[in-house]
């Protein structure tokens, strides 16, 4: 192949071939991104817009007409006590899972980062729950939580606690769900923290050692501030996903007992696929989306100041 193939083509007067070359070069980026972007937006943006439109209609799949009802769906859900219960339960779940899970993930990452032997093996064990299909993990936990035949009551009896019907008792159901959620998500956050810890230059620690800083000081004044962007990233994504919890709860408790674990998404499902009130369910989805957006913006605003030591 000649190095000046294109120039020769142009000089040789092969205009058509040259135009073809120009065309493929100009269209190439669009062709590259087309399938990925179309397949993605088709299942995100398009349903979102449709859903927004649906939320202003009395939409049921079994009726031929979907009349416009304005804000009626939104008014209806704000007046629905079960919607507020599900909101409160979602908040309880989020507060129960996110802080503890983050703290434990950071602790494990710090411990694994001290140069202990078998780091890879431990990392593997902590990560196993992350790749396990959540609905099947929930089945395993249902079996562990079984009041008579499960192993969980045996374990708690070792530390002197009373056996419970973990998933069947409204007082314990949310606690039991939170425990499984923490278990299933520590590994991912631990790996993110571990990667961030390894990115902190050794020079900072050496300087601190020369100054005679204790372990706690090093953690408080060096490690923690430098991990701030990572912490913010984990916090924001964890809160978003905790507000969307559904699969785990659907398998473990189905929202019960007595709506003790009914969260917003499980309630949306109930309204949409149980009662076939699609318009109302779409409105609830948008209220949830708005709340998630608001919380995310607040977190960025108050915690998002960039920390750099360069």
């Amino acid at each position: 192949m000649s190095a000046e193939a294109t120039t020769i083509r142009r000089r040789g007067g092969n205009e058509r071939k040259y135009r073809m070359y120009r065309l493929q070069k100009a269209s190439a980026p669009y062709i590259f991104i087309l399938p990925g972007v179309v397949f993605y937006l088709m299942v995100t943006i398009v349903p979102m817009i449709t859903g927004f439109w649906m939320s202003f209609h009395n939409w049921s799949i079994i009726r031929p007409t979907q009349p416009w009802v304005g804000l009626a769906n939104y008014r209806k859900l704000l007046a629905d006590p079960l919607f507020w219960t599900s909101m409160k339960n979602t908040l309880t779940y989020s507060l129960g899972v996110v802080p503890l899970q983050m703290a434990l993930a950071l602790l494990v990452a710090l411990l694994l980062n001290t140069g202990i032997k078998g780091k890879k093996f431990f990392r593997l064990l902590y990560y196993l729950p992350v790749i396990t299909p959540l609905s099947i993990a929930a089945v395993i936990w249902t079996w562990m939580y079984h009041p008579n035949l499960g192993i969980f009551n045996q374990i708690v009896s070792i530390i002197g606690l009373q056996p419970q019907d973990w998933l069947g008792d409204p007082n314990w159901a949310m606690f039991s769900v939170i425990l499984v959620a923490i278990w299933s998500g520590i590994g991912y956050r631990m790996v993110v923290y571990l990667a961030a810890l390894q990115g902190i230059p050794r020079a900072y620690y050496e300087a601190a050692a020369i100054d005679g800083a204790g372990r706690w000081d090093v953690f408080k004044y060096i490690t923690l501030p430098l991990l701030k962007p990572t912490t913010l990233y984990i916090l924001v994504t964890s809160v978003i996903s905790s507000f969307q919890v559904f699969g785990l709860i659907n398998v473990l408790t189905g929202g019960g007992p007595l709506d003790a674990t009914q969260v917003v998404v499980s309630y949306i499902f109930k309204r949409a696929f149980g009662d076939l009130q699609f318009g109302l369910a779409a409105a609830m989805s948008f209220v949830l989306f708005g709340i998630i957006l608001l919380i995310t913006v607040i977190q960025w605003k108050f915690l998002g100041r960039e920390v750099t030591y360069e």
Partner: protein, 300 residues
């Protein structure tokens, strides 16, 4: 390196001047700290692994042993019968096939579409690039539940509910995949592409013969993430499928667990067989997972 310390040497060490004394206690602190680290990490790891150990042990127990109170930990008469019986009692092979079809196919397509899109976003300047990329990244924050009700209505209108096509079509691309690929491809120098262009290579040939071989680790990472994601997919299949014929493993196992609690021995064997592929895959490819998390997690 360090000599063994008994009480007398500890005493003498304490009697020595301050600096030396400080060195000795620091050493003991280090040893205790190290021991505590191992104990904590091991305790945590046991708690993480316990459900898996309990599942494996239980799946070798007979139905009779599983129904004893208090439960046994190790199986008394280990049996493999559960693993064969589950295929006879429920159409387990069918569910397995469904899972394979609805995981492998979208994974292949996703890796292709994401690597192409990642290349487009990383290596070209074109009208609307930044806007589109921003839109894709910000929709990562849109909760899946917010789109699922309208998605169901759209799919029902298109006649795709209760079909393989309906199961597969929602998973043919991913924002995190596009992002991962873009991050990887940005590190490839433009000179390499220009050199190929001067040699007369078309843009598609550049992608196929230069880019793809260079980003093989990213492709491996993307493949593994996508596959494990699809293997565990629950929410969309739950809505899309309402016939037994199309159930995938994450649907079938909770369904039977709810329906036939008295066959918990079979549920355990089925669960173990259902999670085995991803666990085994992960054992051999841990490195790629960690790399992928590092790239997507850090740049977020």
């Amino acid at each position: 390196m360090s000599a063994h310390l008994d009480n007398s040497s500890l005493d003498s060490a304490l009697r020595k001047h301050n600096r030396h004394e400080f060195g000795e206690t620091a050493k003991w602190q280090r040893i205790i700290g190290r021991a505590l680290t191992y104990i904590l990490v091991t305790l945590g790891a046991i708690m993480m692994a316990l459900p898996f150990v309990w599942l494996i042990l239980s799946s070798f127990k007979t139905l009779q042993e599983i129904s004893i109170f208090p439960p046994t930990f190790f199986p008394r008469n280990p049996t493999l019968a559960n693993f064969t019986e589950v295929f006879e009692r429920i159409p387990f092979a069918r569910y397995y096939m469904n899972s394979i079809i609805t995981s492998v196919l979208p994974t292949i397509v996703t890796v292709i579409t994401c690597s192409m899109a990642g290349f487009g976003f990383a290596k070209y300047r074109f009208v609307g690039r930044n806007v589109l990329f921003w839109v894709i990244l910000s929709t990562m924050m849109v909760p899946f539940p917010a789109t699922i009700v309208p998605l169901y209505v759209m799919m029902a209108k298109a006649g795709l509910i209760n079909t393989y096509a309906g199961l597969i079509i929602v998973g043919l691309s991913s924002a995190s995949g596009i992002f991962l690929m873009r991050q990887f491809m940005m590190t490839i120098p433009d000179e390499l592409l220009d050199a190929a262009r001067i040699d007369g290579a078309s843009e598609f040939r550049i992608f196929r013969q230069i880019i793809v071989p260079l980003v093989k680790p990213a492709l491996a990472t993307q493949t593994l993430f996508t596959f494990t994601g699809h293997w565990g997919a629950y929410i969309w299949p739950l809505i899309c499928v309402n016939s037994d014929r199309l159930r995938t493993l994450p649907l079938a196992i909770p369904y039977f667990s709810g329906q036939y609690f008295s066959y918990q021995n079979l549920i355990n064997a089925a669960s173990l067989m259902a999670i085995a592929p991803v666990l085994i895959l992960f054992l051999f490819t841990q490195r790629y997972f960690v790399e992928g998390i590092t790239i997507t997690g850090m740049k977020g």
